[in-house]
Symmetry: C2
């Protein structure tokens, strides 16, 4: 049976980290809200009969199993899609990297919404300018530097984050680099000069046949100023 | 062999979620940085020979295994301490709840640091006032309301979040209620009027003998204006 992914239909957002894993694996899946199922998605969050309601999208349904939280979805899917190491320790390490990516994604979101996700960017521009400056100067280099270290110290020397082969964390790091490069073209380029392994991983993932086909397809939504990675030139310094 | 917990020695912070699980289980553990091992902690983060360096504290060492990210540490410890359900689905659901608690903790931190964790609160007070207002009005009720729903829909009707018995997620929700009540006494009290199950769980956890003994011991650090949950009366509205 096909996996059912539930996420907002008009943005990449956090759902994109799950889409990339499903696409790379060639898995059969339905992007429910994009297939006319926005009502079904809302019912799973707000319906009174749902025993384990997700707090927010994305979430995944696999038969009877309903899983929310991006990193938990990928932890669940990883072994099933062949995108996680075998042993517990390797899977936990991959998950730990994914959770650090999730922290970076949340911080990226808050560069344009430092006060409230319920207000428009236009209602929090001065605060966004201050937060984005710190994000560019301190946080992007710190996070990308950590990923660079992880790549450098992988004893398999594979150029991937964990072990000898591709995992979902590599796909997610690809997406983060895509997103930061869209949102902060100048700051991201500056930071990446110091993280050649991160840049190489990004280029390598982009050339994987199924990822390439996905990126070129209509299934890949464009970045936009409705998502997590937004291009507001004034925030790029 | 004793578990080794690595966390900043002077605050509850994110380390406290791990401490509560270890204490409830009566596990043997060393709080390394509080036992004079701050240098050892820094070496694990910054030493060049560490194959899987944690991005930030807390992290846990169990023999050869080194795990970072609070929720991942608890996912690892849960089954070992008897604080997680058996079966994959129950463990994943417990983890999903924990990740939502982690989101709430990060948002709480940002009420006093909406611009940068590298600046003092005093350098971001106007922004903090705006963010805290939204947090009190929108976010505390939303998160606590979700936990209330999870408690209400647990088919075991146990008063715990998952299944018939206590899990680490219950301990973490206890800590969140403690922290919100410290930091936002008025807003937390207001919100808890609508979440009687959350309030009851908090009271019940506080009466568990090992938790009670821990809270009364010198091992429990006090809340302070250095941690995540800070009492700045002007942020409580």
């Amino acid at each position: 049976m096909a996996y059912e992914l539930f996420y907002w239909p008009d943005i990449q957002g956090r759902g994109e980290f799950v889409r990339l894993a499903l696409e790379e694996a060639g898995a059969e899946y339905v992007d429910v809200a994009r297939s006319g199922g926005l009502g079904a998605m809302m019912a799973l969050m707000e319906g009174e009969g749902v025993e384990r309601p997700p707090f927010a999208p994305p979430f995944l349904r696999d038969g009877d199993v309903l899983v929310g939280q991006t990193a938990a979805i990928l932890f669940y899917l990883g072994p099933r899609l062949g995108l996680a190491p075998s042993g517990e320790e390797g899977r936990l390490w991959t998950h730990q990297i994914q959770l650090t990516i999730a922290d970076l994604v949340a911080e990226t979101h808050d560069t344009h919404h430092p006060i409230s996700g319920g207000l428009y960017y236009e209602d929090q521009k001065p605060e966004a300018a201050r937060r984005a400056k710190d994000f560019r100067r301190e946080r992007i280099p710190r996070f990308l530097g950590w990923f660079e270290t992880v790549l450098a110290r992988n004893p398999a020397g594979s150029g991937y984050l964990v072990g000898a082969g591709l995992t979902y964390a590599d796909l997610s790091l690809f997406q983060v680099v895509e997103g930061l490069t869209y949102a902060f073209p100048r700051a991201a380029k500056r930071a990446m000069r110091h993280t050649p392994r991160v840049a190489a991983l990004h280029a390598r993932v982009a050339e994987r046949p199924r990822i390439r086909a996905y990126l070129d397809s209509g299934r890949r939504l464009p970045f936009s100023e409705e998502g997590i990675f937004r291009r507001y030139p004034e925030l790029d310094g």
